[in-house]
Symmetry: C2
Amino acid sequence: MAEPTILPLLRERRSVREYDETHELDAADLGSLLEAARWAPSAGNSQPWAFLVGRRGDAAHRSFVPLLAPSVRRWAPAASALVFTLHQVASGPEQDAPLYSDYAAYDLGQAVAQLCVQAGALGLSCHQFAAFDHAGLAELAAVPPHWSVTTGIAIGLGVVSDIAPRTRRPLTEIAYAARFGEPIAEISYAEGTHRPETDYQ
Amino acid sequence: MAEPTILPLLRERRSVREYDETHELDAADLGSLLEAARWAPSAGNSQPWAFLVGRRGDAAHRSFVPLLAPSVRRWAPAASALVFTLHQVASGPEQDAPLYSDYAAYDLGQAVAQLCVQAGALGLSCHQFAAFDHAGLAELAAVPPHWSVTTGIAIGLGVVSDIAPRTRRPLTEIAYAARFGEPIAEISYAEGTHRPETDYQ
């Protein structure tokens, strides 16, 4: 059967490891990226996300770089921006909204995915990473205790030569009918292999 | 300042509450939706997601409907498909891959967001929900203990008349520079208000 068709923006998304060090992320594009995250859905419209943003050359970026693990520090500072993501883990003292912490990490993931789709539409590449000093960032940024520092995202103009092939488990291993493991009738199961990587893909 | 521009696919996404009961989700479109989820990024390419899929009229769908809370049962069964999402919460006995449970819910959220973007590209609407019998579904579907039932997604052809205005917190409340609460220089902060809803938006 034919491969399922998906949007080029999704098909061509890559977690690149090399960025154009001359590209700058302007305020309009940064605004679009954050706006795309802002309009993500969330449980009860709880919007349990926040972002810390540094652009290469500014004070925030300079303060973020020392917090990166050596493996990330090799490539991420060359990107035009470093964005750190936070999700809410409890209701804050200032809030009257109900607590939705069961879905907060999931909803932050949705917001980040929308940010990355928007980045693709702007011709930019995102590479998420988790290897940084979470506690150090929470201290640096004075993150309130009801928020949890989650991931980092390097955003910039990717250098295409660095793009490695991506792999995924086949649909047969992730999509089932009424029982876990039971194939869905009719649908096309594309081939794929699972190759663990040391970082986001 | 001007409103930031975002992709129409993101701008026009809505969690509709009324679906065309005559629309059927064909195998090709279902394959595209799952494929979009499959290609999401994840920590270390761990791909900690799985999906249980029922289409209106099939046995899986019939078995899912009684598990919906009354508030969801009013509108979700009319959608063309009910998809339930799972994320991995521990390494399984069959796996040699490392454990990435810290990011599994977040990564599932990314996969679902990609599925919903793909739905939009197909002219379809998704409405996520959490009000269903999670334990009952885990039992029905024989979900292994290292997986956690997370959310449901109603997918179908939305009836536009039912679409309510969406609201979000302003960017000033979600996007900061190096310190939590510190505004980012230059960027355009769109207006917005936070209005909690009883369900996904």
